[in-house]
Symmetry: C2
């Protein structure tokens, strides 16, 4: 169902070296305020996205699924100043709206979705700051009932603040969309926007097992 994104030409940030990264499934123990050894986090995720499709109206859709996030070696071994780079290498979320049917969200294999976790400048004098997480995501929204796949050309910027542990399992996050983010029809990519993403709120879930992940992927 989904593709693992490994080596696209377009990148929206630094690449994480995937060699030798362990695949981390549930259960895992995560130490708060501690730069973690690198790895691939297999995490649940839920999201509520709002779409405006010209001629069809606005749709608020609840999604459930998983993400696989490759994390770099932290830049230092102190929580305070360590930076961690991330690549989203796989995603599968499913949702449904009565009027437009099922929507499946996966990664755009042509673009590397990238992110980072760092301490905000203003908090660099705190003893135990909370970190900020940001990720630029290139997604495919497949709508089988409409026979259409939508994609974004500008990144969907997802942010999580108040990060006390890496990964930030359980944290709420937000898509930083100012009014509209254009979405394009994969069958007609050079045309004008076919739809718009107008809002996005999400929550990172906990580690999932490999069986849970496979079950979502093959639904």
């Amino acid at each position: 169902m989904t593709t693992i994104v490994t080596n696209p030409k377009i990148t929206w940030g630094p690449r994480v070296d995937l060699r030798d990264l362990p695949n981390l499934y549930a259960p895992q123990t995560v130490d708060p305020y501690t730069p973690p050894p690198p790895g691939i986090d297999n995490l649940g995720i839920s999201s509520t996205d709002t779409f405006m499709i010209p001629g069809k109206g606005e749709f608020k859709v609840d999604f459930q699924g998983y993400v696989r996030v490759a994390r770099s070696q932290p830049s230092t071994d102190q929580w305070l100043d360590s930076e961690v780079y991330t690549n989203l290498i796989e995603m599968c979320m499913r949702g449904e709206a009565p009027e437009i049917g099922q929507i499946v969200v996966t990664l755009n294999p042509d673009i590397l979705s990238t992110g980072m976790l760092r301490t905000p400048w203003a908090d660099m004098n705190c003893e135990q700051p909370e970190k900020a997480c940001r990720m630029a995501v290139a997604a495919l929204f497949t709508l089988p009932q409409l026979g259409m796949t939508l994609f974004n050309k500008e990144p969907i910027e997802l942010t999580i603040d108040h990060v006390q542990a890496i990964p930030p399992a359980g944290n709420p996050g937000e898509g930083r969309i100012y009014q509209v983010l254009p979405l394009f029809d994969l069958a007609n990519p050079d045309s004008k926007p076919a739809a718009y993403l107008t809002g996005l709120k999400f929550a990172m879930g906990n580690y999932v097992t490999e069986a849970q992940l496979q079950s979502i992927a093959s639904e």
Copy 2:
């Protein structure tokens, strides 16, 4: 000094057909609330950008310069529902900070900076709505004193609200930056961010003459 961006492979939105577009310099008469015939607007621009350079600190820099914006044929001939697509084909802004010297902002020739003007969904029942303008910009920040050119991999999203005329000369606008937008060193593009854009406020100027534009470009 600057390059005209015409045909890059990466685009952040729809391309505007540049053939037969008239080059519009000062003076021009712009009718408010009227979809204009297509053209290339040569406009002044001012901007105040804030940069964080790790190890060097935060710098707030005032820029002055010009932009050349190609505008599409409006999608309809009514102001209410017409959409206009834009491509930024040339930019030159100059600023200076005592600690880091001159900064010249031009376009990244590898990516097409694209935008659009449209009526917000919420205002589609207004008789004479104000339009919203958004543009995704790929820039080069050249810092001769530091021997460094910075560029963004995620778009700098510039927005202008309350647009009563196209082009929105004189309107203030904002860069929609949530905390930080990573900037990379062109000499080491795959490395971690070399700096961050942390804030951006700008104002569109009026039409400039061809002589004014040349004078800024060749400074």
